[in-house]
Symmetry: C2
Subunit: 367 residues, 2 copies
């Protein structure tokens, strides 16, 4: 049965060059790797559909001018109508306030996480969807946080080492290494690329204080956008420099506090009062500064709202894993003479998403 | 000598809240770490300058309403007038075409690089400014590329390992592991964060072919913007999914091919025909697809222009280090039966910039 191109509604919305670029035949794609073998400049600039023909659940297309032949399944074509899937932007997330976890936190025991692919998949899903999860009963052996990171991705080494200790130091280069309270922040905003996953494993607690707090930075940004669109827009378009310096590192990165994708969707939050540098005046001078500071204050106030901050206390053996491009973390102050000791490391979300995809692949194939 | 705030021209362009946020006194900044101790919400919403007074080369300011006192050096204030320094955007780079390196490549011998801080600093400057440099006489011992990476930053481990071999494989998961020619591309665009530095160390060459090519992606993008502003704008605002899948990884990232900062300056290029997925139709449907493909073709043609591609041949002991957010690399085909063998690894630009800053600090203090 022959059809003209325009008569098959399944092809209607696709430009011929798009179909040609999507061709999965062995001339166009490597059979082993699935990688594309032809450059766009190898294809004719003017491409058209000479004939289309239904073949089972697929459509066979012959392209002009060169007579190239491609086959497209109707299922695959139907999928292409959905918007691009950026799993890092707000649309792919479940935004939350503290009350959304009133019943239970996303958590698992470490032995169960290790034993069950389904439990591992749920934890990694929570990290990608909610921005965090907790592991309990992680052995209080120094260095175990690296095993936790390795279970889901790859450790990102930094000037703090593959692993770092968070405890009171005599001459702290970072306020994290004191007993001071730390306001909600994302880690290492002075780094580009920023580490996208942070892990903190509790080995010992303070007698009192040192409680943890988490804030969904995407929710705070979304609420700011609803309440004060101008403030949101200022923070999304103003590059801010974050800086850190000690004896062994001198880091700076310049990015907006609210990173958006080209469609304006929230994709990344950088927020850290300790390392943020006052933004340069820019073209708008004094008035621009005033507008920036009003926006920054409004965002900070949103982040500090009590209903946004999920609070809990890490006990020995607890490990929190969080999306450092989204979830801000905080702690209350504690007695510097105490024993509080966390170990932390960084990793990246792309590795986590890959591990989750492999877990799903394995569960699918074992059904 | 008392002055009103507005009468000191050095303060004229700065909003009072900006000055207050910039205060470096021990109440506002930790003396040891230099980190800010106060949140923006700890400061009054309405701040003004009550008095200002010249003190040596500085200005002492008393703020209202709380009488807080801060001192700002005139030199520091003068520096704040320059635009924000984002060392990753095009303004901070020296864009190049092949002819700019007709006389010499930015290169050093490995022994000299190791022995001299000044030589190391020049190489790292070249990486940040030009997007690449070459090392010669790097010992052909497997694994040495990791030492090269460690000399300038931190290795970024990925599913390919801390270290990967680029040579012909029997069942390649990636076309890199064949003898096929590879068109100019950036590595791992399906990763987010993308590795920002790539190192390739040559251990053995092919009898013939396997020559290297580098293209300055920022120059190609800047020329596209000059020649065809609409094409540039389409590529800067269209999210494209890049994907990679093998037995141990399933990665996807969705970003525009030309990443720009909020001011529209080029900041990142992702370009890889092998792993790019045809973009979803989106709101603009068929017409949008046609416009995207015209823009993509125009950018590809710009990248492929012979005058843009710097070509050279890596010999045993050569190691190329490149900015993978900017410089595209390519290779010609070679006989798959031959011995060509490279080892590669990834690292990140933030670590490189930190190492360079420390080298400059050390050279300054030793003067």
């Amino acid at each position: 049965m022959m059809k003209t191109a325009s008569s098959d509604p399944a092809l209607h919305e696709f430009a011929p060059i798009w179909l040609r670029d999507s061709c999965g035949c062995p001339e166009c794609r490597d059979v082993g790797s699935g990688q594309r073998l032809v450059s766009i400049t190898d294809l004719p600039a003017d491409v058209w559909l000479t004939t289309t023909r239904a073949v089972g659940d697929s459509i066979e297309v012959v392209f002009g001018p060169d007579g190239h032949r491609g086959v497209f399944s109707r299922d695959w074509l139907a999928e292409q109508h959905s918007p691009p899937e950026d799993d890092r932007a707000e649309d792919a997330k479940r935004l939350w306030a503290a009350g959304d976890f009133a019943v239970a936190l996303p958590e698992r025991s470490w032995p169960r996480y290790l034993a069950s692919e389904a439990d591992r998949a749920e934890c990694l899903s929570a990290l990608l969807r909610d921005g965090f999860f907790l592991l309990r009963d992680v052995p209080c052996q120094p260095g175990t946080v690296l095993s936790v990171a390795a279970s889901m991705g790859f450790v990102r080494e930094t000037n703090y080492g593959r692993l770092f200790d968070v405890r009171v130091e005599a001459t702290p280069a970072n306020l994290a290494f004191t007993g001071l309270p730390i306001a909600p922040h994302t880690d290492n905003p002075y780094r580009d690329p920023v580490p996208t996953v942070q892990l903190l494993h509790c080995l010992a607690t303070a007698a009192e204080g040192g409680d943890s707090g988490l804030v969904d930075g995407f929710l705070a940004a979304a609420r700011l956008r609803a309440a004060d669109p101008l403030a949101f827009e200022i923070l999304a378009r103003t590059p801010v420099t974050f800086a850190y310096s000690d004896a062994t590192a001198e880091l700076r990165a310049t990015r907006p506090m609210i990173g958006v994708d080209p469609r304006g969707r929230i994709r990344e939050v950088r927020f850290n009062g300790r390392s943020m540098q006052p933004p340069r005046p820019g073209r708008e001078g004094r008035a621009g500064m005033l507008a920036f500071y009003a926006a920054y204050r409004a965002f900070t106030e949103m982040i500090m709202r009590p209903e946004l901050m999920l609070t809990f206390r890490l006990g020995p053996g607890d490990c929190v894993v969080l999306d450092n491009t989204r979830v801000l973390h905080a702690r209350t102050g504690f007695d510097a003479a105490g024993e509080r000791h966390l170990q932390g490391c960084y990793a990246d979300l792309d590795g986590v998403a890959s591990t989750l995809a492999l877990l799903r692949r394995s569960r699918k194939s074992s059904r």
